[in-house]
Amino acid sequence: MQNRLTFLGIESSCDDTAAAVVRHVPGGRAEILSSVVDGQTALHAPFGGVVPEIAARAHAERLDHCVEAALAGAGLTLADLDGVAVTAGPGLIGGVLSGVMCAKGIAAATGLPLVGVNHLAGHALTPRLTDGLEFPYLMLLVSGGHCQLLIARGAEDFTRLGGSIDDAPGEAFDKTAKLLGLRQPGGPEVEAEARQGDPRRFAFPRPLLDRPGCDMSFSGLKTAVLRARDGLIAAQGGLLRQDRADLCAGFQEAVAAVLAEKTRRALAVYSADAPVAPAFAVAGGVAANSRIREALETVCAGAGVRFLAPPLRLCTDNAAMIAWAGIERFRLGLRDGMDLAARPRWPLDQTSAPLLGFGKKGAKA
């Protein structure tokens, strides 16, 4: 029982309302007592993408229900908890604010400590939640909103080696799906089409591979898909199913190639840390793509580095990772006051130059 911590986690930074209870005893593996994710896919589907105001409206009225469900699922009451962790950014601010205020309400009412968590840290620390991975490890966060390669050296110590300077790959998957008349979210749809397609028929660009470093770009790739599509439509008045499958396969192959090559470069940088047990972990919804996963596994195998991908439900947005990141922060003596701010932009690595978002609002990531 010594220094056992049981934390509630709350997540509402995009289009999933989530709450979870995680317990950890020092020296042992963390235990996810419950993890509730109430997704909003159906709410946003008619609009071809996540609509921030619709997301915020849903979060505000679902968060407390999710918390109750998570507590019930864990068989616990608030009195059994040691703290409340909440995503305080980065993300869609309306949702983040609702989560932060709900967490503050619970913390104030119960006297429990409040810990604000960076959503990206939640993803980046997930391999420690699932596998007890030791620092330092290399991490690829690849989702609908984020794309970064990071060395995780501590729960508060991340070095970003590179990332997307424009769209995140998940966003590119969604946009490609939209261009080809496939459903949202685009990831699984494009992957299913790609399975029937020829990845060599369309030569899509591999942006920034010709430049040193680990930065990536995916918005040009989406434009290339659009041009290829429009060329086919101009020539034949529409698309054949095989065209669509080939476009998907070519697109997916380009994303996989870029992620694999940039990961290979990042592994070279990471090796300078001389880790005892080198490891690479991937997180985010795009990690569900089996072609991309396969490409990353190949790179790791070539470099003699352990490859780790948390189960899908912990790769995509969830609150177990937030509860866990809260426990990690709390063990470092960190906690927040009732003036905790919700931040739309919050780079995990505060020292590297911003990748995205400049000006008075500061770096997005």
């Binding site: 309400g105 104030a108 119960t110 261009l179």
Partner: protein, 220 residues
């Protein structure tokens, strides 16, 4: 006789952070701070200050009362999310009170509450002896046709009165948080739904404009 219930009322639906602690309908402490932004950071410390000024703690509360708008979408959510979190943590009810109900509280009936909704529009709801009509949003001139109550309250009451000769404009009776708390007191005896933002305006989302490509050999 049991002591009157202690209610903490608050509102961030406009450019302010407002809170009041009431024992029954007696105000023990109240604060209202004008604020364009930063309500999310300020609200909880403000509530703790108001509780302390009233000599009470969180555990002494019988209920929470929260303003649900209409108003600034984000502002409404800040207070409503906090109220729901507090209600869960304290195991007491949180009662949502619309800005209309708060501004109509204690006013003679029938009364129409007219609030500036920006973009050249106003929000309105009429209250008669039996309760409130459906709230509406529209341009002032169309509202002036729809509204029949002789007495008007709210931030756009004067503007509407210009279009409605003979209308009587009533000044507000209570600070907003006090009105929300008093209105909640009336509902305390009956079960209330969880507070939900009262937006009255849609989310301003449009379906994608570019049509999907034609699939020439689409499966039936």
């Amino acid at each position: 006789m049991p002591p009157e219930p202690l209610i903490l009322a608050f509102d961030t639906s406009a450019a302010h952070c407002a809170a009041a602690l009431l024992r029954g309908d007696a105000v023990l402490a109240a604060r209202e701070e004008p604020m364009e932004k930063g309500q999310a950071e300020r609200l909880m410390p403000l509530l703790e200050e108001v509780l302390a000024k009233g000599g009470a703690g969180w555990r002494d509360l019988a209920a929470l009362a929260v303003g649900t708008g209409p108003g600034n979408f984000t502002g409404v959510r800040i207070a409503v999310a906090a109220a729901r979190g507090l209600a869960l943590g304290l195991n007491v009810p949180a009662i949502g009170v619309t800005r209309f109900a708060a501004l109509a509280h204690g006013q003679p009936r029938p009364v129409a509450v007219i609030e500036d909704a920006r973009r050249g529009e106003a929000y309105a709801q009429e209250f008669g002896a039996a309760g409130g009509s459906a709230a509406q949003i529209g341009a002032l001139d169309s509202l002036s046709m729809a509204i029949t109550a002789p007495c008007l309250a709210g931030s756009a009451a004067c503007a509407l009165a210009v279009l409605r000769p003979g209308a009587v404009v009533l000044p507000p009776l209570f600070p907003i948080a006090v009105a929300i708390g008093r209105e909640a007191l009336l509902r305390l005896a009956t079960p209330q739904p969880r507070p939900a933002p009262f937006y009255l305006r849609g989310a301003d989302a449009a379906p994608p404009s570019d049509p999907p490509p034609v699939i020439l050999d689409a499966l039936p």
